[in-house]
C-alpha cells in the first residue's frame, strides 16, 4: 500500500509564516488579505477535491490537488502542499483505486491543522 508520506512530523512545521513575508514584507494588511483569501479558497478546493476523490475521478482530482498545492505553496503551508503533491501523483498515475481511507483521513487532518494554524496566525496579525 502506498501512503501519503507528508505529515506534520516529517515537515517539522505545518506552516512557514516567513514565506509570505518575502512578498509582502511587514505589510500586515496584505498578510491578512492573503490569509483570508487562502482560507476561503482552500476550503472550497478541499471540498471539490474530496468530491472528485469520492468519484475516483483521476483528472479532476489531479487538477484540484494541483490547485490546492499551488495555493498552499504560495502562503507557506508546506505540509499541506506536500500532501497535495502526493495526492496529485496518485491521481496522475491512475492509482486512486488503491488510495486508502487512512490517507484521506490523513489529508483531512493536515487540512484541519493547517487551517487552524493560519487562523491562529491571523489572530496575531494586528
Amino acid at each position: 500500500m502506498r501512503v501519503i508520506t507528508s505529515n506534520c512530523a516529517q515537515n517539522h512545521k505545518i506552516f512557514n509564516e516567513a514565506h509570505i513575508e518575502q512578498y509582502v514584507g511587514a505589510d500586515e494588511d496584505a498578510k491578512q488579505e492573503i490569509f483570508n483569501l487562502f482560507l476561503e479558497e482552500a476550503e472550497k478546493l478541499k471540498a471539490t477535491l474530496m468530491s472528485s476523490l469520492e468519484l475516483k475521478d483521476f483528472e479532476q482530482t489531479r487538477f484540484n490537488a494541483h490547485k490546492l498545492k499551488s495555493s498552499c505553496s504560495s502562503v507557506g503551508a508546506i505540509a499541506l502542499a506536500n500532501t497535495c503533491k502526493d495526492l496529485e501523483n496518485f491521481a496522475q498515475t491512475n492509482e486512486l483505486s488503491i488510495f486508502e481511507q487512512s490517507n484521506i483521513e490523513k489529508f483531512e487532518n493536515i487540512c484541519a491543522q493547517t487551517f487552524s494554524e493560519i487562523i491562529r496566525v491571523l489572530g496575531n496579525v494586528k
Binding site: Q22, Y23, L37, K67, S71, V75, G76
Partner: protein, 357 residues
C-alpha cells in the same frame, strides 16, 4: 509593461506584487481566453509575459506557442514560465517553444525580480540597437532584421523597378556660404522632406550620396508612383505657397528659407534591376544594380541646363497611364558605351516657379 497569466488567486496576487516591486507595471489575467480577448495580445508595450502552465482551458505552453508565432508582432516579448511541474520534459518543451526562463513554484520573489530586470534591460538594449541600426537601413530591409521567419536578403534577386536619382542643384555653390553645422542641418532638412514624401508613396530611399539620393519603387504602378513622388518633391522645393504648408515645425525659418532657395533635378528610369547586397564581408550595402540604374543616373545628369526638373525615359513614359501627366518629348540622348540612344521626356508641373540661384 508585464502581463501575468495565473489562475490561482493567491499566487496571482503575490507574483503581481513581486513584479511590481521591480518598478514595472503589471496586468494580471486568469486565463488564456481573457488574455487573447484583451488588447494586450500583440501589444508592443508588453515587454514580458509571465505564464502559469496549469490554467483552466488553454494552458500556458499553448499561450507561449501562439505568442511566438504571432506574425503581427514585430518585437517579441520575453516569456517566463511559472509552474510547480519540475519535470525535465515540461521544462524542455517550454524552452523549445521559445520560453526565456522557467521558474518552479513557489517563486522566490527576489530571484524573479532580478531575472525580470535583467531580461528587460537586455531586451531594451537589443531594441535600442535595432532602432539605432534601422536609421541607417533602407525601409525594405528594416523589417527583416527582427523577423525570425525572414531570411536576410543577401541573395540577389531581379525586380521590376522604377529608379529615381534626386540631386540638389548647385548645392556646392550654396554650401560655400554656409558653416558646416548649418550645411549638415540643411542636408538633414532636405532628406527629411524627401523621406516623408517617399514613404507616403511606399517607396524606398535606397542610398544617400552627398547632396543626392537614389529612390526605388517596386510593385503595383511603380512608374506612376515614382513620377508622382518626383512631382511632389519638386513642388516642395519650387513654390513658396507649397513650402509654407510643408515646413516642419521643428525647422527654423532661416534654415527653411535656405533650403527653398535650392531646387532639385530628378532622373527616372524603369526596368529590371538586381537588388543585391554589395560590399565586403563585414560591411554591405543593399542596392539596385544594372543598366536600369545606370540610365536613371544618366537621365538625372541630363537635367542640367534643361527647363525641366524631372526627366524620364521612354520606358517609364510607356508605363504611365495615358494622359495622366503633361509630358513632352525632349531629345534623344547618347549614353557612353551604348550603341542605341535613349529617348528623354520632360514632366511638366503646374504652377512651377523654378528658383534660380
Amino acid at each position: 509593461m508585464i502581463v501575468l497569466i495565473e489562475d490561482e488567486k493567491i499566487s496571482q496576487i503575490l507574483t503581481k506584487k513581486a513584479i511590481e516591486s521591480t518598478g514595472n507595471q503589471c496586468i494580471a489575467f486568469s486565463s488564456a481566453e481573457e488574455f487573447f480577448d484583451s488588447s494586450f495580445f500583440g501589444d508592443q508595450k508588453v515587454e514580458c509575459l509571465v505564464l502559469d502552465i496549469d490554467l483552466p482551458g488553454e494552458n500556458g505552453i499553448s499561450i507561449l506557442d501562439k505568442v511566438r508565432k504571432n506574425p503581427l508582432r514585430e518585437k517579441q516579448p520575453t516569456v517566463i514560465m511559472l509552474s510547480s511541474h519540475a519535470e525535465k520534459s515540461v521544462i524542455l518543451e517550454c524552452m523549445k517553444k521559445g520560453a526565456d526562463d522557467y521558474f518552479i513554484k513557489p517563486v522566490d520573489p527576489e530571484l524573479l525580480s532580478l531575472k525580470l530586470n535583467s531580461m528587460i534591460e537586455k531586451r531594451n538594449l537589443f531594441n535600442k540597437t535595432i532602432n539605432d541600426m534601422n536609421v541607417f537601413l533602407p525601409g525594405s530591409i528594416k523589417s527583416h532584421i527582427t523577423d525570425p521567419n525572414h531570411n536576410f536578403p543577401l541573395i540577389s534577386k531581379y525586380e521590376e523597378v522604377t529608379v529615381i536619382f534626386v540631386d540638389l542643384e548647385k548645392f556646392s555653390v550654396k554650401s560655400e556660404s554656409l558653416s558646416l553645422p548649418a550645411l549638415a542641418d540643411l542636408l538633414n532638412l532636405f532628406y527629411e522632406l524627401i523621406f516623408s514624401t517617399v514613404e507616403d508613396a511606399e517607396g524606398d530611399v535606397v542610398s544617400l550620396m552627398g547632396d543626392g539620393l537614389m529612390i526605388s519603387f517596386t510593385g503595383e504602378n511603380h512608374a506612376q508612383r515614382g513620377v508622382q513622388t518626383a512631382i511632389n518633391i519638386v513642388e516642395i522645393f519650387s513654390t513658396e505657397e507649397h513650402t509654407e504648408r510643408t515646413k516642419p515645425l521643428s525647422t527654423s525659418d532661416s534654415d527653411f528659407s535656405s533650403l527653398i532657395q535650392l531646387s532639385v533635378s530628378i532622373g527616372i528610369n524603369s526596368g529590371e534591376a538586381m537588388l543585391a547586397a554589395v560590399g565586403g564581408q563585414n560591411r554591405k550595402s543593399l542596392t539596385y544594380i544594372g543598366e536600369t540604374v545606370n540610365i536613371a543616373a544618366h537621365v538625372e545628369a541630363e537635367t542640367r541646363g534643361s527647363e525641366f526638373n524631372i526627366l524620364i525615359t521612354e520606358t517609364t513614359f510607356k508605363l504611365l497611364p495615358h494622359g495622366a501627366y503633361k509630358i513632352d518629348f525632349i531629345k534623344k540622348s547618347a549614353i557612353k558605351g551604348r550603341s542605341k540612344e535613349i529617348e528623354l521626356y520632360g514632366v511638366k508641373i503646374e504652377h512651377l516657379k523654378k528658383v534660380a540661384i
